[in-house]
Symmetry: C2
Subunit: 201 residues, 2 copies
DNA sequence: GGAAAAATTACCCAAACAGGTAGGTGATTA
DNA sequence: TAATCACCTACCTGTTTGGGTAATTTTTCC
């Protein structure tokens, strides 16, 4: 089953998959909600899922599917290779994470491997995942501070939004800077965006 | 002619185009350098070009092609709709700018219109382009300061990198904040990234 | 040649920020 | 029960930053 919001991409990917004698595309979906619905009807062996989807995002779609069908085998197939996306996708139960420009044969082999129950990650992706794991997670509160920081809010403004004192905001920022391994708010903002911890717009 | 680094996308897009009786895909390329080379050989009527390409970027590829063939008709077809990308693409001579999820019929009509010499921009894109024009351009120096700012450098560090005093850096920042309509460096960094004025990594 | 824009430097001042240290609470876990 | 962790607050200190104002030099453009 293919899940991607670009019909052209689905069409091309379907053709590539169908060119393999043992693989077939039995269903397609253009967004997360439809993906769940169509999964229920078709119970595909393997799902190829893009993460950037309109409405319900790819990660949410994976979680929704695996909540109902905990044996669902999902391969993430996306353009981006951002640390946080990879992490969340794997966390939510994806068995593999491939970039869209992966060569055809590797793609086909990955589909077969995942169908057989294996979990398979390309070296580059595994490396990023490891790097992500090194970095301690941010606590709920630190996340909230970071979100506001990225909107360009000052410490004072953040303190008002979160109903805490400015000193507390600073305390959170201190641990935040340490965890992200940066020295100031600007660097924190840039890194958070680059690592995909928060998404712009 | 199709230029995109994802074979699957090219394949699907080719199928969509070929399904129109009057349209045909005569050539494909996976990166900017090959695009120029193949353009020379095939002289396609219209080029569909992705902006994110390995090596030479899409904008550079458009410029290279139009330098040799100033009657080349290029349609940008991309996933992103960042203000600066749109602006640069149109500046470099693209006749139209479509998002990859544009419906098939609109895509076909745009190809026909551009073939006939028209320049056609969807309302949403035209709007962003207008917004971009409102914002005064950044001078060369301001750009350099912004680049370093986005790397998380302090005013002091920026001044050393550019061989100017810290006061001058501050002066540039003042005009920069005004032009970007922000109040501090963090907001400037975020906005610059979001508007696509600078690209991360 | 002269106007306009960009780039440069300077100074002052107030606000914002980052680092250090220190302590308190409540919830979870070993 | 003790330890750990997230969360919160406070104070102090020095640095960084941003705003205002002003002036010089260079470059660019008409």
């Amino acid at each position: 089953m293919l899940v991607d919001d670009h019909p052209a991409f689905r069409k091309g990917m379907a053709a590539l998959i169908e060119s393999q004698p043992d693989l077939r595309v039995v269903a397609e979906a253009g967004d997360g909600a439809k993906a769940l619905e169509i999964y229920r009807r078709n119970k595909p062996d393997v799902v190829l899922m893009d993460l950037r989807l309109p409405g319900m995002g790819g990660v949410e779609a994976i979680m929704a599917i695996r909540k109902e069908f905990n044996d669902a085998r999902v391969i993430v197939l996306t353009t981006f290779d951002m640390d946080e996306d990879i992490f969340r996708a794997i966390q939510s139960g994806a068995k593999s994470y491939l970039l869209k420009d992966t060569p055809d044969d590797e793609l086909a082999n990955t589909i077969r491997a995942v169908y057989e129950g294996k979990e398979i990650l390309p070296g580059k992706v595994a490396e990023r995942l490891a790097r992500r794991r090194q970095r301690a997670d941010l606590s709920q509160r630190e996340m909230e501070v970071l979100q506001l920081l990225i909107k360009g809010r000052s410490n004072k403004e953040i303190s008002v939004s979160l109903f805490i004192t400015e000193d507390t905001v600073k305390a959170h920022l201190k641990t935040l800077f340490n965890k992200l391994n940066v020295k100031d708010r600007t660097e924190a903002a840039i890194n958070a965006v680059r690592l995909g911890i928060v998404h712009l717009q």
